[in-house]
């Protein structure tokens, strides 16, 4: 059981990295990776939300959608649950844990339309993961996102001082960097 969880975790955090090999969450990966500290904030917020969302989504799927035989409604149910959940998390953090809200709060509304969150919920269903497996898969995927985002932000802070040809300035060089990172992560494909 434990080894199965470990395989799921390493598989979705590193081998099938959510950004670099599955292309989910590209918008925040390109948009919020300019500075290291904002990247850490965004990564933290995504980890938090994906962790809770994959728990709630798999509970709903197992105890409501499957017994009522309405699994074809999963896309609608999951996106609504994620949207509401983000609102609740934001309100809860604001009232109860202000320091955490200060650190993560501004990134929370962005996450509703982050395809990584819905993507994880749907992957969990597709692979028939149980509740514990879903949560592990969710958190590992989010940590993979965190890793890719933070590495990219670190590289971009260094690239500020580089002499880049003009057509490649801006997003183009970021995409080239992402391609090189993706090749590097490709090296992990034999791990599992």
């Amino acid at each position: 059981m434990l080894s199965k969880l470990l395989v799921i975790a390493i598989g979705s955090a590193i081998v099938n990295n959510v950004v670099l090999s599955q292309f989910l969450g590209i918008c925040p990966f390109l948009g919020v990776s300019k500075k290291l500290d904002t990247a850490v904030g965004m990564g933290g917020a995504v980890t938090f939300v994906i962790g809770i969302a994959s728990l709630v989504a798999s509970l709903l799927y197992k105890f409501i959608l499957v017994p009522l035989d309405i699994t074809y409604l999963k896309t609608i149910v999951f996106i609504l649950v994620i949207a509401c959940l983000v609102q609740f998390v934001e309100m809860f953090l604001k009232k109860s844990v202000p320091p955490l809200y200060q650190a993560l709060g501004i990134f929370l509304p962005l996450i509703t339309t982050n395809c990584a969150v819905l993507g994880v919920a749907l992957t969990n269903v597709q692979n028939d993961y149980g509740i514990l497996e879903s949560v592990v898969n969710g958190i590992a995927t989010a940590l993979g996102f965190f890793l890719a985002l933070v590495i990219m932000a670190g590289l971009r802070e260094k690239m500020e001082y580089n002499d880049i040809p003009r057509p490649f300035q801006g997003t183009a060089i970021v995409l080239v960097t992402a391609a090189l990172m993706s090749i590097a992560f490709f090296g992990f494909s034999g791990v599992i």
Binding site: I79, I106, T113, P167, Q169, A172, I173, V176, F186
Partner: protein, 250 residues
């Protein structure tokens, strides 16, 4: 120009969602391993886009402003579920190769972006044409990227071998397999962005447009369809915003 034709031109050329606005990057990178996958994704997105634009435009005076985004999401998600089930039934092989990216059409920012920017403010027929234009623009862009990756990565186009492969040391094409793998998607998009930048820089150097108008492509929060609904546009703005919210609550 007829205003309906103008909508089509706007979607395909002037405000092309992929090549000009750089929206919907996740499916653009993920499914363009071949032309046929690109076209399949483009057409299913077009179907959802046109239907949701029509329904949102019909309901534009009924949906209260405060809950419009959740309402749009429900409408889009319903159409995506319909397209998902239809594709599962009628195009099973395409359904398998697109996989999870079909339900993820829900969070494609082109669709929510058009709902916010156009369909919620304009009459039904114009919104439908807007959806068709944007959808075709998206489909063409995906087909082009898919074609580049399929030719370089496999020497094929639409599954036909157009570049003869090298056999046993003879003359022929050796496929650059990395172009149909994940890194190739980033590389092709990077080159498209760079070529676009180069074109505008050259145009400015030739004096055909002002140098100050040249902007290198920068994908950030400006491109996001949700930017008006996002409470924290930059970390600096956030404290002021949260103070406002607090007053509202109490």
């Amino acid at each position: 120009m007829n205003k309906y034709v103008e909508r089509l031109y706007n979607g395909v050329v002037k405000e092309n969602p992929t090549m000009v606005q750089f929206l919907g990057m996740c499916p653009t990178l993920a499914v363009t391993t071949s032309v046929i996958n690109g076209i399949g994704m483009g057409l299913s997105t077009t179907a959802v886009l046109v239907l949701s634009n029509i329904l949102i435009s019909i309901l534009r005076n009924i949906i209260p402003d405060k809950v419009r985004v959740p309402a749009f999401i429900v409408i889009v998600a319903s159409f995506v579920t319909m397209v998902d089930l239809l594709m599962q039934g009628f195009t099973p092989s395409l359904y398998d190769s697109l996989g999870i990216y079909i339900p993820l059409i829900v969070v494609n920012c082109i669709i929510l972006g058009r709902a916010e920017a156009y369909a919620s403010k304009n009459p039904v027929l114009l919104s439908a044409f807007d959806g068709v234009g944007m959808g075709i623009g998206f489909t063409i862009s995906l087909a082009i990227i898919g074609a580049i990756r399929e030719i370089l990565g496999a020497g094929q186009i639409l599954g036909y071998q157009i570049l003869p492969l090298a056999e046993d040391g003879g003359m022929g094409y050796t496929p650059i397999t990395i172009f149909i793998l994940a890194p190739g998607a980033f590389l092709v998009l990077a080159l498209i962005v760079a070529i676009r930048n180069y074109y505008f820089i050259r145009k400015a150097d030739a004096g055909k447009m002002a140098a100050s108008d040249v902007e290198v492509v920068e994908i950030g929060c400006e491109a996001c369809a949700m930017k008006d609904n996002c409470s924290g546009k930059t970390p600096e703005d956030a404290p002021a915003q949260s103070a406002e919210n607090k007053e509202g609550v109490e």
